[in-house]
């Protein structure tokens, strides 16, 4: 922040009483030292924050025109699409924004896993991130129910029914969640209330996430600590500008879908009004839930645990197991760049997640070259948990990492006067 700005009497007056300008400066300004070698995978954190802001902005406009009642919800969404000025734009941005949010956050998560960003001293940062992810999933699910189409209704029915798998009290919990004896008006009303509330909870969590981030600063592609000022550059203008450029690229991608393929990520069935009497032949969740949906359906009866309860445990475990990552991975080296074995398995893991998504989109009895999807799903599920619970600890103990560079600046200058290429290699 320039001295000229701080010398302005009004700014000075405020700063003396509430040091908001130095706070901003130390959070995202020139007062925040950032590793000088961050590559473009580090853009996705700020992108996620921007998408959250876009979702809240469009969401509030939609809320002004939406009616949370089973008799009017579907029609009110269509009114937004047809009669509200630029209502179609707000709705399509919000609808596709949900998918964009997950794309960005999934990349952000995988980046954290590749570069070991969850390791000491960033364990809490990682855990808060997973909590953000869980909150986001709940928000997205409830938002999907609001248009009250066929998929909305049946997704709500299927997902709330999962709680009936809880022994003894399950049925009561489901009735309590519904506010009645089926998914109906009270359910829609409370989902709307929560869908409006949770984004603000997300804002709070994001604030804590950033707070924890700023204590030990960003990790970096080399995964080694900042040793001194020579390793860092100020966040502003370097990373503000890099993030803005990344935002531009991302918006081109985002807006292409909004304007030219707005229903690409959606299901045609959701343009049919909810009908409790007609079950769709194929109930599928939104694409971002497909991997966990595949896990839900992959689990068979195991001993005294029914397939249903096992599936529910598997589905929640799918995300919750990530909380253990900082302690399962014993390797002192963070970045997969210096971990030859882990790096290869990381990509197998990424492929496994895609396979689970693909299985989730197909019916379990469908076959792929003679192999039932049920079994592909089972193998992929076993690999998923095996990778996190067995392979990661094992590799971290057995693997011999490559030698780490002495410092960030040493590594950057050793590779010559073109840090951009060094960053390219880091990817």
């Amino acid at each position: 922040m320039s001295n000229k700005f701080l010398e302005n009497p009004v700014i000075k007056w405020i700063e003396y009483r509430l040091p908001v300008f130095s706070f901003i400066n130390e959070s995202v300004g020139s007062g925040y030292p950032t590793p000088k070698n961050l590559n473009y995978w580090w853009n996705f954190g700020s992108l996620a924050g921007i998408v959250l802001a876009i979702m809240v902005a469009t969401g509030i406009v939609l809320a002004m025109n939406y009616t949370p009642h089973v008799d009017y919800a579907f029609e009110s969404v269509e009114r937004i699409m047809r009669d509200v000025n630029y209502g179609w734009l707000m709705r399509y941005i919000h609808m596709n924004g949900g998918s964009m949010f997950f794309i960005v956050v999934y990349i952000h998560l995988f980046r954290g896993m590749y570069y070991g960003s969850y390791k000491k001293p960033r364990e809490l940062l990682w855990i808060i991130g997973i909590i953000i992810f869980l909150t986001m999933m709940a928000t997205a699910f409830m938002g999907y129910v609001l248009p009250w189409g066929q998929q909305s209704f049946w997704a709500a029915t299927v997902i709330t029914n999962l709680f009936s798998a809880i022994p003894l009290i399950g049925e009561y919990i489901v009735t309590w969640l519904w506010g009645g004896f089926s998914v109906d008006n009270p359910t829609l009303n409370r989902f709307y209330a929560f869908h409006y509330l949770l984004p603000f909870v997300l804002f709070g969590l994001v604030f804590v996430h950033l707070w924890a981030l700023h204590v030990h600063k960003s990790n970096n592609p080399l995964g080694i600590d900042i040793k001194g000022p020579q390793d860092t550059i100020p966040f502003h203008p370097y990373y503000t500008m890099k993030d803005l450029f990344g935002l531009g690229v991302f918006l081109i991608f985002f807006m292409f879908f909004v304007f030219f393929a707005p229903n690409f990520f959606g299901e045609p069935d959701n343009y049919i009004k909810a009908n409790p009497m007609v079950t769709p032949t194929h109930i599928v969740p939104e694409w971002y839930f497909l991997p966990s949906y595949a896990v839900l359906r992959a689990v068979p009866d195991i001993w005294f645990i029914s397939a249903k309860l096992g599936g529910v445990i598997g589905m929640f475990g799918f995300t919750l197991v990530l909380l253990l990552l900082p302690w399962l991975d014993r390797s002192p080296v963070r970045s997969a760049q210096f971990r030859p074995i882990y790096r290869q398995f990381f990509w197998v893991f990424v492929a496994d997640c895609f396979i689970l998504g693909w299985v989730g989109a197909n019916t379990p009895d469908a076959v792929f070259y003679g192999i039932p999807f049920l079994w592909i799903g089972r193998v992929a599920t076993v690999y998923y948990f095996g990778h996190i619970l067995v392979l990661i600890p094992l590799i971290s103990i057995l693997e011999k990492p490559k030698t780490l560079p002495d410092s960030i600046s040493a590594a950057v200058t050793a590779k010559g006067a073109a840090p951009d290429t060094a960053q390219g290699a880091a990817e």
């Binding site: 000088k36 029609e75 269509e78 699409m81 047809r82 179609w88 734009l89 399509y92 049946w154 029915t157 299927v158 029914n161 999962l162 009936s164 049925e171 489901v174 009735t175 004896f181 089926s182 998914v183 550059i233 203008p237 370097y238 500008m241 890099k242 803005l244 450029f245 531009g248 690229v249 918006l251 081109i252 807006m255 292409f256 909004v258 304007f259 030219f260 707005p262 229903n263 045609p268 069935d269 343009y271 049919i272 409790p276 079950t279 032949t281 194929h282 109930i283 839900l296 359906r297 397939a307 249903k308 599936g311 019916t363 379990p364 009895d365 469908a366 006067a417 073109a418 840090p419 951009d420």
Partner: protein, 258 residues
């Protein structure tokens, strides 16, 4: 109590369905609708006004006997190029119930452009009663509500077979259709050569009629499509230029780090 039991078991059944999808009855082979070129495809697509207006004529003369279009208002027809006077005349052809008036009575009046398309049946039960138990769905969103969109509609309308293939027994009052899920459809073949006489002199082959009505219904489902694509081009061009400039600025700011 009975109700509660019914509802929880219905919900449990739904879960079961979701968990073991596709356990339903085996279905006959359903054809994949062939992909067609539509005037509204692509980044610069617009609705062919002629086709959409002919399609509107087909809707009025054929479909509207059974199918509602309840999300569309008569005034919206300006979107397919009809003039204000034409729209007023079209609306005035039907009557809607309005009221209550000062005496507390409901009364009939000619529809106005601001009214939504008048439904052919008073309610779903009346529609079922008149259609052998089947409910003709509302067509406002049909193109968005089916996989394949306009391709599917075109294929469905022209995909009837007089006789089902050997071994398939049709239920009472059903028709065989290559593209309908399960192949048995309650709707009788709605289009045939010369089923309508086009005002603009276009030869009304079954294929032409299907194409026209699919175009009209694509418009009905996405009346914002043209405005959306026009704005989209501007937004993308703006973003591409802006991003290029930001890239240049980023290079410049980072140049002292290289």
């Amino acid at each position: 109590m009975m109700m509660k039991l019914f509802k929880t078991s219905a919900a449990a059944a739904a879960l079961a369905v979701a968990l073991m999808l596709g356990a339903g009855p085996a279905m006959a082979e359903v054809g994949k609708p062939p992909a067609r070129d539509w005037s509204f495809d692509g980044m610069f697509g617009t609705f062919d006004r002629g086709a959409a207006q002919r399609g509107f004529q087909v809707y009025q003369e054929v479909c509207a006997a059974c199918h509602s279009l309840k999300l569309v208002a008569y005034r919206n027809l300006s979107g397919i190029g009809l003039s204000e006077d034409q729209i007023k005349a079209i609306a005035a052809e039907v009557e809607v119930t309005d009221g209550p008036n000062d005496e507390g009575e409901m009364f009939q009046r000619p529809a106005r452009p601001s009214d939504r398309f008048v439904k052919p049946f008073a309610n779903d039960n009346a529609a079922r009663a008149a259609n052998n138990g089947a409910l003709p769905p509302d067509l406002s969103l049909m193109v968005k509500a089916r996989k394949g969109g306009a391709d599917y509609l075109q294929a469905l309308l022209t995909g009837y077979k007089e006789e089902p293939p050997a071994g398939i027994k049709l239920s009472e009052g059903m028709n065989y259709n290559l593209y309908f899920p399960g192949n048995q459809i309650a709707m009788a073949p709605p289009v045939a050569d010369d089923a309508v006489e086009y005002a603009d002199g276009t030869k009304a082959t079954a294929d032409q009629i299907a194409t026209d009505v699919a175009t009209f219904l694509a418009w009905a489902a996405e009346p914002e499509l043209e405005e959306r694509k026009r704005l989209g081009i501007k937004v993308l061009l703006f973003l591409i230029v802006l991003t290029a400039m930001m890239y240049a600025l980023k290079r410049q700011i980072w140049s002292d780090q290289h």
